[in-house]
Amino acid sequence: MSSIITADALTKEVSTGSDRLVILDHVSFAISAGESVAVVGASGSGKTTLLGLLAGLDTPTRGRVMLAGRDLGAMDEDGRARLRREAVGFVFQSFQLLPALTALENVMLPLELGGVAAARETAAALLGRVGLAARLRHYPRQLSGGEQQRVAIARAFAGPPQVLFADEPTGNLDAATGCEIVDLMFELNRDRHTTLVLVTHDEALSRRCARRLRLSAGRLEADERGAPVRLAAVAP
């Protein structure tokens, strides 16, 4: 299977006055299309930084990222934004819905940014798919945490994306709701043959992915592969 994401000697440093702090240190790997990969590690290990670099939200100090066959380093911010629009979906820990827009409008947003004609219909259908057909005109503040994350998932799949990046998607949810959300996300991921890159510190959640990249102090410590395990089976 061809690689949809390739990280080549990715290094990220930040300067703190006269010192330089290395956040990621020569991280290399490749992810095939349709794979589900969890990035795991302790706090400060560089998980979120890696996710940002892979999705083109940030640029590495050294090294190279290829996403959907494109070299992110050769593109400017607007170019990377267009690539995200075409090929990437996101699910965040804090949902990141726009408070001024209704659920429907939030899901329409990536479609509209991409100039899709039937944005409203597509968005409504996706919200129906995540069980929010009756909540189209509700604002984020009128929705529960679980419902907001469902809207965020619908928005993430609106593209439709080749790669779905999820950053601690259950971090702000209770266990039961988190479980439902993860089921939904994996279900959609499977249906749509999307590549999933999931950042989590939750070992149980990470085991639902076929592959785990384990980071420690900015280095890739392990690249583990194993059959995915359903969350319900390991939940306490």
Binding site: T48, L51, G52, A55, L57, D58, E77, D78, A81, R82, L83, R84, R85, E86, V88, F90, F92, Q93, S94, Q96, L98, P99, A100, L101, E105, M108, L109, P110, E112, L113, G114, R155, D167, E168, G171
Partner: protein, 835 residues
């Protein structure tokens, strides 16, 4: 903190923190708002201070003497004799309006006949053919005249050439450069000519009905002047007053006070808008400093220290911004002075330091009212916030901030108006305008958002943001709308109203008044018009009398509180007689007299003057006509259409009742354009007649008004700037939110162009809604002024709407994009970092 931070330590820490906050840009907007408020305040204050100084510095110069007796009839010889007896120097002037003519044209001019020794104080300067001004004491030689620049140019006079004044031809001997009496004045429109008092009788200009001002001027030792004042003041009858340097030119002082009050209120709008910006900036400062304060408290700073640190920061900021504002105001007042120079007509001394101190004080009032209450809340931040970020300052104290802000606004309005009643009106008006415009703005914001739902991404996103931050949006729309409204009213609406009014006048409306026609000239005048092939205009009789008593109660100026009533009673009324009311008069109360009016004498009084003087049907009025009493009762009240420009009178009596009194005649007629030469022939034939060119007078008043309005517009520019500051403050207060949203949009694939479009949609909407609000306000006020004040039909001007929408939209778009240029550059990593 060891033994604790002493006062000096608190001050040092406050200064260090202030420097850091300022460098970080946290306080720039608050400082800028204060600078603008103080600049707007001091621009007007510096200018008024300069005029006031000029008035007091040149008081005796303005008076031309130490003390002057002003009278509308010849001054009794008794006073001149007393002045001589006290050893005072004295001279006299006689002033009145009249026509003068050169070789071709004639011109309405103020004539001043002066005696020897003029002026007793101040500087009279004249220039001869060499153009070099030289000081002068005394009158022109008999047979000679000195004319001012305006008369010189308009009549095309030349040195040594003739100028006709009444029946006398005088030789133009000099041009007047400075004359104490005329060196300053608001609305000082007439050209002037000086002649020797000895030439006055030969001109034949002082006749029945002439409006003449006599002045007896004295100077000398303070004791003698005081003694003369004590002698003259009690003897001053109606139409006479005694002026000294303390009350010189009361009309200028009152005009200055009105101008200062009006310009001050105009500047107050920008001060209040700037206060809103200060409040918004202070709120953001509070939100940004909650964590820092919690940490400081956690590290051992007491509540008092926390409050003191912020209060000291504010004090230093207030002082620095106040000084900068004074500097800006000082620079801006030169512009204001230049705009008003033709109206003020005086060389202004440099301003004193008092307005600067007042400006700084006003800045502190704003800070106390609008910034201190939110910042004082920092002292109440719970220390536990270091663990739980959702904990803010205790709620329920917001009213304190609102009350302090309101108190600051009230204090500033009171300070400006120095009048409790006016302050109450201004405050009430402002409050009502704020409530109404906020309601309209809220409606517009909601409507725009609902329309935007159906639009594309950029519009929907921008308008949705507008609606979500409804309160902030309303504040921005109202603040910007107020600034725009002021400018639209001053420019477009004013021009429209003037245009409507001028168009409402019939094209054949009289445009020339002939005043001072003597009874024996009536026939000759009719023949003159006949010879010119024109119909003779209808003449109206005019008898001048002073109102002496109402219902047997003697009245004078001091009997009335109203300024207009005082002026009316102080002057002589023009009484007339008529068999029937004029066509443009409507009887609104009582009845017009029958053909054979029974005794006693009846008066028909114009309704407006009756209201001013508190007169009603049945009241008995006694007039003093050249020393003879004339008494009658009011039997009807009339409404007069004054802008018909036909001759009309405040008080009319039945025919035959005024036959025994000295009478002159007056008329008005329409002189077609291009026939001005007829007037020159008329003045040559009847030199004593006064020709008032209505169009010329209106044009002069219009020019003067334009100059004043440009000055007001200048002051209102501060309001627009303050409106923009409110916009910036509102943008800044939502900066973090905007950055977060921009980061989300970027993460979802939005590029810079799409981000800018969404921002642009929001700002265009804010600007267009402000413009719309301003246009609605200008249209409503224009309608009220047209229909209720000017009585002309109001025509909707599409320019008001076009300019409002386009100027508002484009202006706010530019300012908004400038204010959010950082937001577009937001890194999409923010979406991950701020999880």
């Amino acid at each position: 903190m060891g033994a604790g931070l002493g006062p000096a330590g608190v001050l040092r820490l406050a200064l260090r923190l202030l420097g850091r906050d300022f460098r970080a840009g946290e306080l720039r907007l608050m400082a800028l708002s204060l600078v603008l408020a103080v600049a707007s305040f001091t621009t007007v204050a510096f200018f008024a201070d300069r005029v006031r100084q000029a008035l007091s510095r040149e008081a005796s110069q303005l008076l031309g003497a130490d003390l002057v007796v002003v009278s509308d009839r010849p001054i009794e010889a008794l006073l001149a004799e007393e002045a001589s007896r006290l050893g005072l120097s004295r001279t006299a002037t006689t002033r009145f309006p009249s026509m003068i003519s050169g070789a071709q044209e004639s011109l309405l001019t103020e004539i001043k006949a002066v005696g020897e020794g003029y002026p007793l104080r101040g500087r009279l300067r004249i220039a001869g053919p060499d153009g070099v001004p030289r000081p002068m004491v005394g009158a022109p030689a008999p047979g000679e005249a000195w004319v001012d620049e305006r008369a010189f140019t308009r009549l095309g006079l030349r040195f040594g050439g003739p100028v006709n004044v009444g029946d006398r031809a005088l030789k133009v001997a000099a041009r007047v450069v400075d004359d104490p009496d005329t060196s300053i004045g608001f609305l000082n429109v007439m050209p002037r000519l000086m002649l020797n008092a000895a030439d006055l009788p030969a001109t034949g200009l002082i006749q029945t009905g002439s409006r003449v001002i006599y002045r007896l001027m004295v100077s000398g030792s303070r004791e003698a002047v005081d003694a003369f004042r004590a002698f003259a003041a009690p003897r001053a009858g109606p139409g006479q007053r005694v002026e000294d340097v303390r009350d010189a030119r009361p009309e200028i002082r009152s005009a200055l006070e009105r101008a200062e009050r009006f310009l001050g209120l105009a500047s107050l709008l920008s001060v209040i808008l700037a206060a809103v910006a200060v409040a918004l900036a202070a709120r953001r400062y509070l939100q940004r400093h909650l964590d820092a304060c919690a940490v400081m408290r956690c590290l051992g700073a007491s509540r008092a220290q926390t409050v003191w640190i912020h209060a000291l920061q504010l004090a230093v900021l207030g002082l620095a911004a106040g000084l900068a504002g004074c500097g800006a105001g000082f620079a801006a007042q030169w512009g204001l002075s230049a705009l008003l120079a033709p109206v003020v007509q005086v060389s202004l001394p440099p301003p004193s330091v008092a307005p600067a101190l007042q400006g700084i004080a006003a800045g502190f009032v704003l800070l106390l009212g609008f910034a201190l209450p939110p910042l004082a809340a920092l002292g109440r931040v719970p220390t536990l916030r270091v663990l739980r970020r959702d904990l803010g300052p205790p709620r329920g104290t917001a009213w304190l901030g609102h009350a302090a802000g309101l108190a600051a606004v009230v204090a500033l309005i009171l300070w400006h108006t120095r009048d409790l009643k006016l302050a109450a009106w201004v405050l009430g008006g402002l409050a009502m305008a704020a409530v109404v415009s906020a309601a309209v703005a809220l409606g517009l914001v909601r409507a725009a958002a609902s329309v935007g739902r159906e639009a594309g991404f950029a519009w929907r996103f921008g308008l949705a943001n507008l609606s979500r931050r409804a309160l902030g949006s309303v504040v921005q729309v109202v603040a910007l709308g107020a600034g725009l409204l002021a400018l639209i009213l001053m420019s477009i609406t004013r021009a429209d109203l003037l245009d409507s009014w001028q168009r409402s006048l019939p094209p054949e409306a009289p445009n020339r008044f002939l005043v001072n026609i003597q009874p024996d000239q009536r026939q000759a005048l009719a023949e003159f018009f006949a010879a010119e092939g024109r119909p003779a205009p209808q003449l109206f009789p005019m008898v001048r009398g002073r109102l002496a008593a109402i219902n047997d109660q003697p009245v004078n100026a001091s009997s009335f509180g109203d300024e207009r009533a005082r002026r009316l009673v102080d002057r002589e009324f023009n009484l007339s007689w008529a068999q029937r009311p004029q066509l443009d008069n409507v009887i609104v109360a009582g009845q017009w007299w029958s053909r054979q009016p029974p005794a006693p004498l009846q008066f028909s009084v114009e309704q407006g003057i009756a209201d001013t003087l508190g007169l009603k049907l049945g009241d008995r009025l006694r007039y003093d006509v050249a020393g003879t009493p004339l008494e009658g009762a009011i039997t009807s009240l009339r409404k007069v259409q004054w802008d018909s420009f036909r001759v009309n009178f405040f008080v009319v009596a039945p025919p035959g009742t005024l036959d025994d009194y000295p009478v002159s005649w007056v008329t008005s007629f329409h002189l077609p354009a291009g026939e001005a030469a007829l007037m020159d022939r008329l003045v040559k034939r009847f030199p004593n007649l006064l020709v008032v060119d209505v169009a010329a007078v209106l044009a002069q008043v219009q020019t003067m008004m334009d100059q004043v309005i440009r000055a007001v517009e200048y002051v209102f520019l501060f309001s627009v700037a303050a409106g923009l500051l409110v916009l910036f403050a509102a943008i800044q207060s939502t900066h973090d939110e905007r950055v977060r949203e921009a980061a989300i949009l970027r993460t979802l694939g939005g590029d810079s162009r799409q981000l800018r479009q969404a921002q642009a949609a929001e700002f265009v909407a804010v600007g267009a809604l402000s413009g719309l609000l301003a246009a609605v306000g200008a249209t409503a006020l224009g309608w009220v002024l047209a229909e209720r004040v000017l009585n002309v039909p109001y025509t909707l001007d599409p320019w008001v709407w076009a300019v409002g929408l386009v100027a508002g939209g484009a202006g706010v778009l530019a300012a908004g994009l400038l204010g959010t240029r950082q937001v577009v550059r937001a890194s999409p990593m923010e979406t991950l970092r701020r999880a």
